[in-house]
Amino acid sequence: MKRALVPLAVLALLALAIAAPQYITVRYYVQLILLAMIWTIMAHGQNIIQGMTGYVSITQAGLMGVGAYASTLLSIRLGWPVWASMAIAPFITALFSVFVGYPSLRVKGHYFAIVTLAFNMVIFIVLMNFTSLTRGEAGIFNIQRPEPLFGLVDFDDRVAYYYLVLTVAVVMTALTWLLMRSSIGRTLRAIRQNENLASACGVAVWKYKLFAFVASAFYAGAAGALYAHYIGFINPETFGVAQSLDAILAVILGGTGTLFGPVLGAFAVVFLPEYLRIAESFRLIVYGLLLVVATILMPRGALPLLGRAWHAAARRLGFPK
């Protein structure tokens, strides 16, 4: 019964997301949902390496920055069509991740988290200081939206862009689902659960870990491109380590290794700070506390908790199981 309800719940969620801009009149909320969907793409990527494979990467925002700057620079400096720039950005980001992942994932142990953290810092420093290319802290303005589609859909319209982001988020969610149910997903979970045994079973562990990291970078690159061409302005601040910690938080809060946990977590990390404005200067402290409390109260994230709550409610209301 419960299994049969999952596709229905997904369809309902999708219908809600499609209807939202038509009914929500406050543009600010449409913007928040749009950003949360971009963060959903980020979080899916983070979930592939952190949740499915068990290796915490601390550079998801840095990689998002690579995607954002790649797409921006291609379209502004080289005059590429925005569509082409956005489409190529995830691949450029994935390529970058190979250079970090290859040396750090070939060795066992905890180097990976530290190397990725360092990588995020390097990205930040380069974006800050390579001013001839990135304009440093001042950032890049007037980043264009994509060209009109068939001369019909005008993406300068926020709602049209909303549907573009929704489409990409749905496609990336579907891709993640395919990965999870494939034999590749099973092998990634095996590595997370017992890397030594996976190796003894003949799994070329480092190749799978590298694949997971490169996939996570691909997602981050797509999110970065969508972000840059939506906001129209980027500077390094958005792509620092703090935002990478948010991506980790989104996965943990939502439900590590699950398909919809990161969606939930992405909405949480976009909406919560908006409601915790007063706590702006205590951001990291509040987040730290939140993380500790969440880990204690819901060690497997919010999604399994919601599942249990649903079960309890269903029982109370007398639904068959």
């Binding site: 395919l178 034999s183 590749i184 099973r186 979970r189 003894a200 079973c201 003949g202 799994v203 562990v205």
Partner: protein
């Protein structure tokens, strides 16, 4: 066969492994004949598990050479040895927590998979056909090791003896020619050990060469064609079960009394 007249499935020559000052394995040479069951026995800490880890490629040799079916494998990484026909189990229960028995078997049969790329991701026709074949194969093997009907059972719900059997099944799923079993009877009661004896003999009957480490002498004496005895990383005896159990050096170092 028992005297190794056929070409060996596995050969160790002058193999040593030092951990700092500890000579865990010291100038060890022996071979496992094709379709033979070889026992590896000795006191705790005599280097048995280290020998298995060296053959499997968990860590590099300090000295020596290892051949699998005539091919030198000491420079080949651990994950590239199972495709050559080598499989092993671990002394301590080693499975994938949270997996079902069937999922465990499918990862155990990883090297049998052809469709690992884009085809697997998008569940192409070939990938689905292969997955179905692998599931059939795994289900048959589960029945073979005595876990018929347990495919959907989460590993955590299996008894410790069943987990031991699953480890063997998972190793067999790679279709090995050489199987290394490290204390497969650990935590089993007498009846379960007797069933394990039959299983090991049935594995041999399938044409697999088996090296088995065990402390239960009844099991070792029953299934082994030959036995190698280790003490302090060195081979102190080698021969048929009868010869080994009456060897004064072995009785002195390990058995205590004649079995």
């Amino acid at each position: 066969m028992a005297d190794g007249a056929t070409s060996p499935a596995l050969t160790l020559r002058g193999v040593s492994k030092h951990f700092g000052g500890v000579r865990a394995v010291d100038d060890l040479s022996f071979s496992l004949g094709t379709n033979e069951i070889l026992g590896l026995i000795g006191p705790n800490g005599s280097g048995k598990s280290t020998t298995v880890n060296l053959i499997a490629g968990v860590f590099p040799l300090t000295a020596g050479a290892i051949q699998l079916g005539g091919q030198a494998i000491e420079a080949i990484p651990e994950y590239a040895r199972p495709p050559l026909g080598l499989a092993r189990t671990f002394q301590t229960a080693s499975l994938f927590p949270g997996f079902t028995a069937l999922e465990q078997m499918l990862v155990g049969g990883h090297v049998q998979m052809r469709e690992r790329g884009i085809g697997a991701l998008f569940a192409s026709r070939a990938a689905r056909a292969e997955e179905a074949a692998r599931i059939q194969d795994a289900t048959d093997l589960l029945a073979f090791v005595g876990l018929g009907g347990c495919g959907a059972t989460p590993i955590e719900n299996l008894s410790s003896a069943q987990q031991r059997l699953l480890m063997i099944g998972s190793a067999l799923a790679s279709r090995p020619r050489v199987l290394l079993l490290d204390e497969p009877a650990a935590g089993m009661v007498a009846a379960e050990r007797r069933a394990l004896c039959d299983l090991i003999l049935a594995i041999k009957a399938r044409g697999v060469s088996v090296m088995v480490i065990e402390h239960h002498m009844a099991l070792i004496m029953k299934v082994c064609d030959r036995i190698v005895v280790l003490n302090f990383g060195q081979k102190i005896a080698e021969g048929t079960p009868d010869a080994v159990r009456n060897d004064p050096k072995v009785i002195d170092a390990y058995l205590g009394v004649s079995h």
